[in-house]
Symmetry: C2
Subunit: 455 residues, 2 copies
C-alpha cells in the first residue's frame, strides 16, 4: 500500500479524553474513531490488525477441530427466558422491540442460542464430541464505557461452546481450549497467564481467565514469578489426547496465579517471598465448564449408549478479539508509539523514501516494494512528499516492526537501512539482502498460519 493512496488519519495532538496509552495511541495512529460512547469505527489501519487477530483466532480454533458458524447479533428474548437469564442479566443487556413490538436483545453472549441450535439438530451421543464457535459482534451496555476498545460496548468476541456426553469429556474440551488459547495468544506476541477466576453470570465452577500483565490492567493479580517463565512455544499437542491436554493445563496452573476475586493470601504467603508478585492484568479470554446449567432447562439432551436421554455437558470459551488490540498495545509500546509484534502487525514492513521525487530513489523504493510483496510480505510505502522526520514519526507511531529507509546517499553504494522498531537497531545492507532478511524473519509467522475457513 502506498501511503498517498491510503487513508491513515494520524493525529499530531494527544486526544484529551483518552485515559490510557492504548486508547491514545489507537486514536493518534488513526486506527479507530468513536461514533458513540463505547462504539467505534475501525479505520483502515485498525481494521487490518483486527482482521489479523480474528484470523489467528479462527486458525487456532480450527486447528484443534472446532467448527465455525455464525449466529446473528440480535436474539429473541424468549430464548433467554428459557434459561432464566433474561431478567437476571440486568441493565448491561441491550433490550429492544421491533416494529411488531416483539422483544429482542443485542446478544452479549450466546449460550442460549447455541443450545437451541444443538437441541434442534443433535440427537445422539454418536454425534459428540462437538465444539461450535463463532466470531461475532456483541453488545454490553456498560454503565461507563471507557479505555477505548478495552471496555467498549459494541465489541468483537470469539465465543465457543462444547457439547459432551460426560463431565470427563467436557473437562477435556476445557483443557483443549486452554491449550489452544495458549498457542493463540503466543502467536499474537502476548503472554497471557491462565488464572483461576470467578464465573460471574455465565455460571459454573471451573473457570480460568487469561490475563496479560500491564500496568493499566483493571484486575489486580497475584502470582508466583515462575509462571512467567512458562511458554507454549512450538510444541505439538494432539487435541484429541486427554492426557496431553491435561498435562498442559497442569503445567500452566502449577504455579500460583490468581485474580483478586479468587486470591487466597494464605496460599500466596507460602510462596518464597522473592517470587511473590502483585501486578495489574488485562483479561483477554476466559474458559468455563458449567455442566448442564443450560442443557437441563433448555432440554438439550442426547440418547446415550444405554438408550436413555441425558442432558449434555457444556462449557463456553471466549476470546476478546477487539479488546486484544488494546491489550497488545498496553503490553507493547514506547513513548514514540505502538510496537506491533510481527504476528499481528497491520503491515509487515514500512518503506521510508528519504527523497521523494528523486527518480533514482523513487525507482529503488518501487523495486523494494515490489520485491517485498513478491515474497508475500505486506508493505506500507511512505511515498509522501514529506521531510524524513515526519515520515519516521509516523512509522514509529503506527508501530510497524521493521522499517527500510532508502535515500540517495545510501543508494549510491547500493545500500539501505533496516531498522527494528522494538530495539531501534539499524543495519546497513544491500536492498536485496534487506528483502531476504525480512522474508526470513517472517517465515515462521507465515508458517504458523493454517488454512482455515475465515474468508
Amino acid at each position: 500500500m502506498r501511503l498517498t493512496q491510503y487513508f491513515l488519519p494520524v493525529l499530531k495532538e494527544n486526544p484529551a479524553d483518552a485515559q490510557i496509552v492504548s486508547h491514545r495511541l489507537m486514536l493518534r495512529a488513526g486506527m479507530i474513531r468513536q461514533q458513540a460512547a463505547g462504539i467505534y469505527s475501525w479505520l483502515p489501519l485498525g481494521f487490518r490488525v483486527l482482521k489479523r487477530i480474528e484470523r489467528i483466532v479462527h486458525e487456532e480454533q480450527q486447528r484443534v477441530g472446532h467448527i465455525p458458524l455464525l449466529m446473528p447479533t440480535l436474539q429473541p428474548a424468549d430464548l433467554w427466558r428459557e434459561s432464566g437469564r433474561y431478567e437476571a442479566y440486568g441493565e448491561e443487556m441491550l433490550r429492544l422491540n421491533d416494529r411488531h413490538k416483539r422483544e429482542l436483545l443485542y446478544g452479549p453472549t450466546n449460550e442460549e442460542m447455541i443450545t437451541d441450535i444443538f437441541r434442534a439438530h443433535v440427537n445422539s451421543y454418536k454425534d459428540l464430541p462437538l465444539t461450535l464457535y463463532h466470531v461475532q459482534w456483541k453488545f454490553r451496555d456498560e454503565v461507563r464505557p471507557r479505555f477505548g476498545v478495552m471496555r467498549g460496548r459494541e465489541f468483537l468476541m470469539k465465543d465457543g461452546y462444547n457439547f459432551d456426553l460426560t463431565k470427563e469429556d467436557a473437562l477435556h474440551a476445557y483443557n483443549r481450549h486452554l491449550v489452544s488459547y495458549l498457542r493463540t495468544y503466543e502467536r499474537m506476541g502476548l503472554q497471557a497467564i491462565p488464572m483461576r477466576a470467578d464465573s460471574g453470570p455465565i455460571g459454573g465452577e471451573d473457570t480460568h481467565e487469561f490475563l496479560v500483565l500491564a500496568d493499566t490492567g483493571e484486575s489486580e493479580v497475584f502470582y508466583d514469578s515462575e509462571i512467567t517463565d512458562l511458554t507454549f512455544g512450538d510444541r505439538t499437542v494432539d487435541p484429541a489426547d486427554p492426557a496431553a491436554c491435561q498435562a498442559v493445563l497442569d503445567e500452566f496452573t502449577s504455579r500460583y496465579a490468581r485474580t483478586d476475586e479468587t486470591h487466597d493470601p494464605a496460599v500466596f504467603e507460602k510462596i518464597p517471598e522473592a517470587r511473590r508478585r502483585t501486578a495489574r492484568g488485562i483479561e483477554v479470554g476466559q474458559i468455563f465448564y458449567f455442566g448442564t446449567k443450560y442443557s437441563e432447562p433448555m432440554g438439550a439432551t442426547v440418547v446415550g449408549p444405554d438408550g436413555t436421554r441425558v442432558p449434555v455437558h457444556m462449557g463456553s470459551h471466549g476470546i476478546g478479539v477487539s479488546r486484544l488490540l488494546g491489550a497488545i498495545i498496553e503490553a507493547s509500546h514506547d513513548d514514540k508509539g505502538i510496537i506491533w509484534p510481527e504476528g499481528v502487525t497491520p503491515f509487515d514492513v514500512g518503506i521510508v523514501n528519504l527523497k521523494q521525487g528523486d527518480s533514482a530513489t523513487d525507482s529503488a523504493c518501487e523495486a523494494l516494494y515490489a520485491a517485498l510483496e513478491a515474497r508475500g510480505l505486506s508493505v506500507l510505502y511512505d511515498d509522501r512528499d514529506e521531510r524524513a522526520g515526519a515520515k519516521f514519526a509516523t512509522m514509529d507511531l503506527i508501530g510497524l516492526p521493521w522499517r527500510i529507509t532508502a535515500g540517495p546517499r545510501g543508494l549510491a553504494t547500493n545500500t539501505v537501512e533496516l531498522t527494528s522498531r522494538r530495539t531501534g537497531e539499524t543495519v546497513t545492507l544491500a536492498p536485496a539482502d534487506a528483502v531476504e532478511r525480512l522474508a526470513a524473519i517472517y517465515a515462521p509467522i507465515k508458517a504458523a498460519s493454517y488454512d482455515a475457513a475465515v474468508g
Copy 2:
C-alpha cells in the same frame, strides 16, 4: 473435513414454511437456522459459503483500490438527524435506546457515518479520490420478512462510498464500481445485469441495479436478449482510467435492460420483437451517484485547488452479501439440490466412500483426501457408515460441484469415479488423475484470488 466430525444437519423433509427453492434448499442442506423472523444463524456449511462470497467481494474491491474499514452496527440517532433521514426513514429503521436513554439505531446503511468519518479527517482535495467500504451486518425491519436470507432483517452487506472533488470524478468512481461489480459477480458464477433503476431513500439521479435472472425474482424486468450475451470475462481494465471504465459501462448499458420502476414501453417496443424479453430478477447490488446530498448538509468539504472549500461529490455502492447465497441457489439448482459454482462452493470436492470400514477402500479415500488437500483443494469426505444412496443424496443436496466415488470394485483396477454435479457426467480414472483433473479445474479459480486484507 470428515463428515463424521462435521456439523451438517441436513433435513429429509421439505420445510413447510419455506416458499421459494433457495430457502427450502438452504434449510434442507443445513446451511441456516431461523432464530427469529428474518434473523438467521449461519450453520457451518452456510458460513463457509458466506465467507467465500465475502472474500471475493473484499478481493475485488481492493483490486480496484478501494480501502476497507469497519463501521459499527449501532449508530447514534443524531447523526441521522443531520442528514434529515432519521424521521424520513420510517418503520424499517430499528430504533432503540440504551440504559441512559440515548437514541441509537441499528444501521440500515452508512452514508451518514462515513460522511462523518470523512469530514473529521479529510481536509484537502489532495487526499482525493478516496473510496472507503466495509462489509458489515445491517438491519432493516421489514414488515414481512420472507424468502429466507433473500429478504431477511439482519443481513450482511458490502457498502462502499466514494469521495471526489468533481461530479466528473465521482462518475468515474461510479463506472469503476460497475466494472468491479461485473467481475465480482462473474467470479461467483452469476450473470448480474446492470439495469437503470430508481434511487429510493438513498437519493440521487444516477443509479443502476444489478439483477440476476430467476423465476422467483421480486422485480419484473424488461430487456433486449442481446444483453445476456455480454460477459466481462478475464479482461483487464485499469481502474484509474476513466475512458476504459466508461467504455465498460457503455457496453453493458448499450442494450435495453430496465426494472418495472424505470421501464419505458415506448423504447422497449422499438427492440425487434424476437429480442424482447420479460422476466423476473433478483437484485444483488446497486450503485448510486448522489453528488452533494450528504456532504452539503453534513459539512463534508475540502479545500479545492483554488483555496476555497467545496462539498465533495459522493456515491454509494452496495452488494447484498448474504442475499447472494439465495440468489446463486435460485439461479443454480435442480430437483436434487443445490449446484454450487466452483467460485463459491463450500468445499471444492466431495469424496464418497462406498464401503466404509473396508480397510483398502478407507485407506484409498484417506490418500485421496490428503492428496487433494495438498493441492490446496478443500474436501468434504463422507466417511459415515451409510449406504451409497444416502451419501449420494447428501452430496447432491449440498451441491458440491465435483464428487469422487471410491469403492472396492473400482479400486481393484485402481480407478475411482469423478462426477460433475452440474452435468451428471461421470468419468472413470485413476485416483491420481482425478486429483490432477480437479487441480486443473480449480486453477483459474485460485488464480483469480487476490491477496486482500480480509482476515
